[in-house]
Subunit: 390 residues, 2 copies
Amino acid sequence: MGRLTGGDPSLLRRINSAVVLQALRAADSPTLTDLVQVTGLSRPTVEGVVEGLIETGLVVEAAAGEGATRRQGRPARRFRFRTEAGHLLGIEIGPHRVAALLSDLGGRVLDTAQRPVEERAPADERLERVRAVVADLLRRTGVARDSLRAVGVAGPGIVEADGTVRLSTALPGWTGFPLGERLRRSFRCPVLVENDANAAAVAEHWQGVATGSDDIVFVLAGLSPGAGSLIGGRLHRGFGGAAGEIGALHLLGREATPEKLLSTTGEPLHPLDEAQVAAVFAAARDGDAQAREAVDRFIRRLVHDVAALVLALDPELVVIGGWAAGLAGVLEPLRRELARYCLRPPQVALSQLGEAAVATGALRLALDHVEGELFAVESTVTGRRRTAAR
Amino acid sequence: MGRLTGGDPSLLRRINSAVVLQALRAADSPTLTDLVQVTGLSRPTVEGVVEGLIETGLVVEAAAGEGATRRQGRPARRFRFRTEAGHLLGIEIGPHRVAALLSDLGGRVLDTAQRPVEERAPADERLERVRAVVADLLRRTGVARDSLRAVGVAGPGIVEADGTVRLSTALPGWTGFPLGERLRRSFRCPVLVENDANAAAVAEHWQGVATGSDDIVFVLAGLSPGAGSLIGGRLHRGFGGAAGEIGALHLLGREATPEKLLSTTGEPLHPLDEAQVAAVFAAARDGDAQAREAVDRFIRRLVHDVAALVLALDPELVVIGGWAAGLAGVLEPLRRELARYCLRPPQVALSQLGEAAVATGALRLALDHVEGELFAVESTVTGRRRTAAR
């Protein structure tokens, strides 16, 4: 608490630097005068900070013509944040594919790549596929590996803080796999590992259907369903990273699993066979009575899962993603049933990002990490708040 | 953000004052030298702040003999926070009783009072009972109404931010009742209204079985069950204040309500008849087969509720309270079943505060409010953080 008022000059410099960098990023090539106005800092302070940022390569004087230059008189010097000063990766590791996005420091996606992977591939092979996709992406874009500032990775399972997969029923050999540690051998920058549904929740909040809400639940509907939630705009991982692992709700109700519910033959579907699932949905749309019954059973099951999450968390918005997102007509029964069971029913929407949600969320987590380091005001003050609260 | 670095002297004064007050409260009658050491502030600053606090009546020079005075040399002046400078109320409004706790500014309970109320009493009568209990308590303790700094109130239902009860199925006339507004007529200080299970969660974290954990779910087990949760030590109310309103889970599973499950006659129990419930539990303990079956059904139902909360939130600890807390043997089946269904099973414990949990939590919320005003460092910095995040 002493630091709060004791005047730590290096802390102050860091805060000032972060404040100026934020202002630079938010504005369109601002002048020093703009920055003084926005930040409330003195002109000499802003000048000093900007010079320091230019030295680190994060800021550059904007070329003539950049920004608003139509005012009268001698044009003032303008500056801009160099989003090209570093790059980020967002990687999805799924049962059937590995996909990656490459972006600049502003989060603008430069290119994407993906490769299929065998559902039964061992963990090492899956990891090799990740390395290949990343190598592809870097080669195609001409981005140097050293330019990467952070890598976000998301896949099924409960993930420990260090990136070890504590438990994943979906991928063979994944439980106990030190995914973070293994990936860190391939990158010199920080590697952040996250659960896939959690990443998708972050993605929809960033660029999808949930940009207007800070309290959301994202349901990755599927044969092995999961959920991720944001509370007050922050990811809620739970005490042990297992929040939203709702697969067991099926067992609890002594009800059947989605694999059984969606079966039209009596034989359960394979837990990861999305093609088979799509066929059942298609048959239902074509009027096949058995398939329609199966889909109805599945929707009732989905309603149950979503309602349990909604009653526990009371989100503003529920986003339905995963392959079930393609299912016409899932929203209406969901809304109707939630209105029936929830004292305060949430809005319900389909994922906007679809298949890109998980990798996009992983990218956003990498971006969050870099922003936390570059624009350190928030993390600095949050750190203080924690100190003050003890 | 300008304020962060622009040097707002009144803000700085407020922060300094809060820092000194926190240090005063935490230590045992510290000297000015102690305060300088703990806060990192300069001696003149501390002196100025302490003088100001003495003027407001919040701080007083400690009498000789208070604090550690056994050191050599002339004793330095010592100071202490005057916990007697103000008082707080924590009030429970339940179906069958109204109870209240009166404490000093340190949260030390001075006295308690309670009165029964008819289950079917209209809202105004219930409110009148609250006023009577409070008047009792103030008269008996000789505390002036003007000395109250904040009042916390907790009862069943979803509560709006302004203290209006949005929905309560347990109390007649309670839905839509402007409880906060009506109570504010009786008090000049702030009145905070909260859901009962939420308050109980806060209480167990403060003084009960959950003091060691910041991520808990409190389940108010009963015929009309509810839950409250803390995430990172903070109450999670949900977007619309309905988080943990799990009553509808019973309907969702197409399963029976607790009233039906606990019936030994086929006729459902009355939703608020705790005596009847106690009789069923007692009969089960005495070996009555029908009663034992009823209790088993009820426990299975409780396990289902708790599991849904655990899967959604992933708490470190689940606390079981409400009348079911008296039920011998509820913990073991709960632990066993949660271990079976949850990927990361939480600890499970019985409420330590029992019947006092709801009023104690209401008191803690009143104390939080006052501390937020007096020891404003945290709220100030949190406010900044929000600014910085935009």
